[in-house]
């Protein structure tokens, strides 16, 4: 079973988008009344629920090792470390492709900064989402999370993602409210 890191990052990216959009709705910004924003918020929420639902559905406690399921009535084989437990190597060409993908996304970001398709708040969100995708590619392949034990990516990514999302949820609504007050 492989925990889908991609689903995770979709949740994170769309979560940031959703929080920011929701904040705009609360603040009564110029975009708030449009149907598109409501759609994006609902879409983000739906994607988050689907992703976590999928992960929960695929969750298999026997992969946690014997300690985690002690007393749960599930009988499992004790988890024994394989001979070389840490490093499962991937093929080098995939790293070259990831590198090229990261460069392409960077180029898109630079172009977007000059095309300026939207105001600063929407640009902030677009750049954040692109950056989160890039961060996911770095964590998944370069930092090897995709090839580690699945539970490990939960342990390290989930707390950080939760803390950052909560931080965004506190700060951005207040920031947009300040903007509306018009200092």
């Amino acid at each position: 079973m492989i925990v889908s890191l991609i689903g995770y990052l979709f949740t994170f990216a769309l979560g940031i988008w959703g929080v920011a959009t929701f904040a705009q709705l609360i603040a009564g910004g110029a975009l708030a009344a449009s149907l598109d924003n409501l759609f994006l918020t609902l879409f983000s929420a739906l994607m988050a629920v689907l992703s976590f639902g999928y992960l929960a559905w695929r969750f298999n406690p026997s992969k946690l090792g014997p300690a985690a399921v002690a007393g749960s009535g599930v009988s499992v084989e004790p988890y024994v470390l394989p001979e070389d437990p840490v490093y499962k190597d991937a093929h080098i060409p995939i790293f070259n492709k990831i590198w090229m993908g990261l460069l392409a996304l960077t180029l898109i970001e630079v172009v977007l900064a000059y095309v300026q398709i939207a105001g600063v708040l929407v640009m902030l969100m677009i750049l954040l989402v692109l950056s989160v995708i890039k961060a996911g590619m770095i964590m998944g392949w370069f930092m090897h999370l995709k090839f580690d034990h699945p539970i490990f990516s939960w342990v390290v990514v989930a707390p950080a993602a939760a803390c950052i999302l909560i931080m965004c949820g506190y700060f951005f609504p207040d920031s947009f409210r300040l903007l509306e007050l018009g200092f």
Binding site: W99, L102, A113, V120, L121, M143, F152, A160, F171, L178
Partner: protein
């Protein structure tokens, strides 16, 4: 990892078992990365807060600022790739090749620091932008810029020192492939942070006129 094998036979509460199936060094580095990512995200969220709620200056011209920052991104991403090569070589036991790739990674880091220092010098000397004052408007602009890019540059310099020490120790046989991998994790994290600093700091303040 014979110690881990021996430990796996002991009861869990006596230290046996490895539920995450990674070495302790790697796990420790990941915990550090999680805490450090919260440091950076707090700074970046605070920056985004003042960026969204203020009349924010957009002084960065295409040349040199955006070009330099883009080249720095290219250099840092490439250094991540060479680090991946180094870790892969180390795990395949190709010691000389691994050391070569690690030195190349550190060299890319040095290029990054050199370019960034030149960019800072340009901003201070030619544009009159300082951490405490600037001619564009909000004094927070210079403060957040120099704080966030400075903290990142501090991480890069630390990473260069770390990689150099690991390269020397690994060549002497003092450390193994796992230590190279852990150093690589730190280096990739520095790269990852720049993926947020570059668009938020530079691209949201480009001068499009």
């Amino acid at each position: 990892m014979s110690e881990a094998h021996a430990a796996a036979a002991e009861p869990t509460w006596q230290g046996g078992g490895a539920p995450f199936a990674v070495g302790m060094k790697k796990f420790g580095m990941w915990l550090f990365i999680v805490s450090d990512s919260l440091t950076f995200s707090a700074l970046l969220v605070a920056y985004s807060y003042v960026r969204a709620a203020n009349d924010w200056p957009t002084p960065f011209h295409f040349f040199p600022s955006i070009v330099f920052a883009s080249v720095m991104t290219l250099v840092l991403l490439s250094s991540s790739l060479t680090m991946v090569y180094g870790v892969s070589a180390a795990h395949h036991g190709a010691r000389r090749a691994a050391v070569k790739w690690i030195w190349l990674t550190a060299l890319c880091g040095l290029i990054f620091v050199a370019l960034h220092s030149y960019e800072w010098m340009h901003l201070m000397r030619d544009e009159g932008m300082y951490p405490w004052e600037n001619k564009y408007g909000s004094p927070l602009f210079g403060g957040t810029f120099f704080l966030i890019t400075g903290l990142h540059m501090f991480h890069v310099i630390t990473g260069i020192a770390y990689l150099s020490i690991v390269a020397l120790g690994y060549r002497r046989g003092k450390w193994g492939a796992e230590d190279v991998e852990v150093a690589g994790l730190y280096w990739h994290f520095v790269d990852l942070v720049w993926m947020f600093v570059f668009p938020l700091i530079y691209l949201l303040s480009t001068n499009v006129d």
